[in-house]
């Protein structure tokens, strides 16, 4: 005879009741998740600062937040790390947060999104800077005006640049040595560069690539266009900005500075643009260079570190990356970008910006002015994973562990070549980058006729993009 307990069945009522209770319990337990109230900072009286990166990146900045809160105990700061493949993805996520009514107060903004944010989302800093001019003198005197102008739009400033990277040329010393070449002089030219690539190619193993470049706005074809004194977009300047230049800089330093860059239309039909593209296409055809992949570059540090690449354009951010990849400071070095018609460099910069929608603008400004202080920047940038915008921080000690030996080029780029310009990033940056990337890929993959077709299409697409309202 079976034991009574084994024959007792669960009634439907019991089953439904248990299920209902379980569902109710699960709903109650998941309520914070369902309503989004468990998202850090949401619904709390804190200053929400959005950065591009992971939660580890946010945690790495906690020292900075702690230092700020020690000084401003009434302003709690909460970092919100937003992961994205590139700056474009980051800005889109910020815009989505704005649309959903959960916009942060402060965003770490890069050149790529500076004009888009200035046009639509960001609060100009002019009044705060003017009213606190005496406290800001130290910052501006330490920061190159080219970086400041990159965050100007229609004469107003939208962020205080904290770090930057210019597209310099990294060279693999092992490859140079193997090819019997000396490290190039600062005023080297594009012909010398090409000759270097040919010599490297002749002396190297089969899987060695003399020149590696990526297909994007920073470090792709744009630095070559700048060196050839041209660009994909016609470049002008907005009027204005005198309120800042006259207050913080001497006239001789800022005589060419205006109210920010103004890109007005496509410049792709220019002969110089064609000449630049054709030269790079020739390098690809001669196997001196890779065909650039869109959005590539993930494996670059490892490949450069293993001496399979001779040269590649990158900024100061690479110093730490190569060090972490195990590359000795003696195994590589950096030089200015080669000269063509000019030696104008391309750079990108980044800094905190206040959103117009913020209800804590005064608190946000306190954060901005705090993070621009030297001691705060030293906390924020303990290693050369980027180049700080304060000249006084870029010194031998900063690069002593990582190299490169020629680290001075990082900041001297701005002093030696004051016409150096930011990434061409109008408010329509996403369309510009998209059009550039796909037509570069197409143009570099075939013969001259294919390049001509790609440039014609790039011209059409950029014209259409720039005609659109931002």
């Amino acid at each position: 005879m079976p034991h009574p307990s084994t024959t007792r069945s669960i009634t439907r009522r019991t089953l439904l009741g248990t299920g209902g209770l379980a569902a109710a319990g699960a709903t109650v337990a998941a309520w914070p998740r369902l309503t989004g109230s468990d998202i850090p900072g949401r619904g709390e009286d804190v200053l929400r600062v959005a950065i591009q990166g992971t939660t580890q990146d946010a945690a790495a900045r906690q020292d900075l937040a702690d230092a700020f809160m020690a000084e401003n105990p009434d302003i709690p700061v909460q970092f919100e790390a937003i992961q994205s493949a590139d700056w474009g993805g980051f800005f889109t996520k910020i815009l989505t947060m704005v649309a959903s009514g959960t916009a942060p107060d402060v965003v770490y903004l890069a050149t790529e999104g500076a004009q888009l944010f200035a046009e639509r989302l960001a609060e100009p800093l002019d009044e705060w800077i003017t009213s606190e001019a005496p406290q800001m003198v130290d910052y501006f005197q330490d920061v190159h005006p080219a970086l400041v102008e990159a965050f100007m739009y229609q004469g107003s400033l939208y962020a205080l640049p904290l770090d930057f990277n210019a597209a310099n040329m990294y060279l693999n010393r092992n490859a140079l040595q193997q090819a019997g070449l000396d490290f190039p002089a600062p005023d080297w030219g594009v012909d010398e560069f090409e000759e270097m690539l040919r010599t490297m190619q002749a002396q190297s193993a089969a899987n060695f690539v003399p020149y590696y470049w990526t297909n994007r706005l920073f470090g792709g074809i744009v630095p070559w266009l700048y060196a050839n004194d041209t660009s994909i977009l016609t470049e002008e300047r907005f009027d204005g900005g005198d309120w800042l230049w006259d207050t913080f800089y001497t006239p001789e330093k800022t005589s060419s500075r205006r109210g920010g860059y103004r890109w007005t239309g496509s410049n792709v039909s220019s002969d110089r643009v064609h000449q630049t593209f054709e030269r790079l296409r020739g390098w690809v055809a001669d196997d001196l260079s890779v065909r650039p992949e869109e959005g590539g570059g993930n494996a670059l540090v490892g490949l450069f570190g293993s001496s399979r690449i001779g040269a590649t354009p990158a900024g100061g951010y690479w110093a730490q990356g190569l060090h972490e990849a195990g590359m000795s400071p003696d195994a590589f070095d950096v030089q200015y970008f080669p000269q063509w018609r000019t030696q104008r460099h391309q750079f990108g910069t980044a800094g905190y910006s206040i959103l117009r929608s913020s209800t804590r603008k005064e608190q946000a400004w306190r954060w901005l002015s705090f993070t621009a202080r030297k001691e705060a920047m030293e906390t924020a940038f303990p290693t050369p994973s980027t180049t700080p915008t304060r000249r006084s921080m870029v010194d031998d000690a900063f690069y002593s562990e990582t190299g490169p030996h020629n680290w001075k080029v990082f900041y001297d780029t701005l002093d030696q070549f004051p016409t150096s310009g930011p990434i061409p990033a109008p408010p329509q940056q996403a369309e510009v980058e998209n059009a550039l990337a796909r037509n570069v890929a197409s143009g570099m993959g075939g013969g001259p006729a294919q390049l001509d077709a790609a440039l014609e299409r790039l011209d059409r697409e950029l014209t259409a993009a720039m005609e659109k309202a931002a």
């Binding site: 649309a99 065909r291 796909r438 890929a441 570099m444």
Partner: protein
């Protein structure tokens, strides 16, 4: 005129006598039916609610949004058919949709051919443990993240440093520009998609093949049909219902391809691997043209529905139900 007041059997019952419907057993049955109805409603409610909130509402919202211009920040503005006209006028959009159709044809044919071939192989005589191994192995890519697989494949197919070209090099084949030429990039995207997705078709078809009665093969063998003949005349007709399910799901998945071309090539070189869903993504999340993105999404949805409808219409001719 007389009125028949005689009680009829069907309408008149003594009030004092309970009818069969009012009997306790019938009342219990009615309560039980009512209770069952509530159980059904209760059990369906989460799915219906979920579908309503997360599928139906977005479709309706997207349908409405397709007639507006909206950039997330400013208020939407009614645009009539402008978004659809802009889609038609955009060469990139046309190329992307054409790419998608070509991709679907090639990828689905390859996927089904590979799945049928492997399913037949695995179902043939082999030890049970080996069959189990193949089943798991072929299904395994499907559980991986498409983005992770694509990143991995991107390294493998790198022209200068990838293992694929290295292997080709060991047999004297020159480096192939897999991801930087139109043909190479398209081939890699199709390969990665098929590699990752054929496992689902394989499982469906494996079930179909396992259900084919052994006697039919024996009868066919007596009639002299073996190998290819047996496959063509016995297996293929009998697995045609499974083949229909596999082809419909494969077609729908292929029409929505995004991860592989986005991670491997970003749609390039040029527009050679740009897919319809990439157009939707780029319009919405790169250019903030949500109206245009919705319009593109609706066109894609219509295309999927049309192709699925054609498949089901054709299935009447080619699918054999036992």
């Amino acid at each position: 005129m007389s009125i028949d007041t005689a009680p009829t059997r069907s309408t008149s019952r003594p009030a004092s006598r309970p009818s069969a419907e009012d009997s306790p057993s019938h009342t219990r049955a009615r309560r039980s039916r009512r209770s069952e109805r509530w159980v059904i409603i209760l059990l369906l409610a989460p799915t219906v609610l979920g579908m309503g909130i997360f599928t139906l509402l977005p479709i309706v919202g997207s349908l409405a949004l397709a007639f507006f211009e909206w950039d997330l920040i400013t208020a939407p503005e009614f645009a009539g058919l402008d978004n659809f006209i802009a889609l038609g006028a955009d060469a990139t959009v046309r190329t992307a949709f054409l790419n998608t159709i070509v991709f679907v044809v090639v990828a689905v044919v390859l996927q089904l051919a590979l799945a049928v071939f492997l399913a037949v192989m695995v179902q043939s005589r082999m030890p049970v443990w080996l069959r189990l191994f193949f089943r798991s192995t072929f299904f395994f890519p499907l559980v991986l993240s498409a983005a992770s697989v694509s990143i991995f494949m991107r390294y493998m197919f790198n022209e200068q440093f990838g293992v694929v070209n290295w292997l080709l090099g060991t047999v004297g084949i020159a480096q192939v520009p897999w991801l930087t030429t139109s043909t190479g990039a398209a081939a890699v995207v199709i390969f990665v998609f098929v590699w990752q997705n054929f496992g689902f078709s394989f499982l469906i078809l494996l079930g179909g093949i396992a259900a084919v009665p052994q006697e039919l093969y024996e009868a066919a063998e007596i009639d002299g049909a073996r190998g290819w003949k047996a496959f063509k005349n016995v297996t293929l007709p009998l697995i045609s219902p499974s083949l229909l399910v596999a082809s419909v799901t494969a077609m729908i998945t292929a029409l929505q391809v995004f991860d592989q071309p986005y991670v491997l090539t970003r749609g390039g070189p040029g527009d050679s691997t740009r897919s319809a869903v990439m157009v939707v993504f780029e319009a919405a999340f790169q250019r903030l043209e949500f109206g245009l993105a919705s319009a593109a999404g609706l066109v894609l949805m219509a295309l999927i529905m049309l192709i699925t409808w054609i498949q089901f219409r054709l299935s009447r001719r080619f699918v054999f139900y036992q």
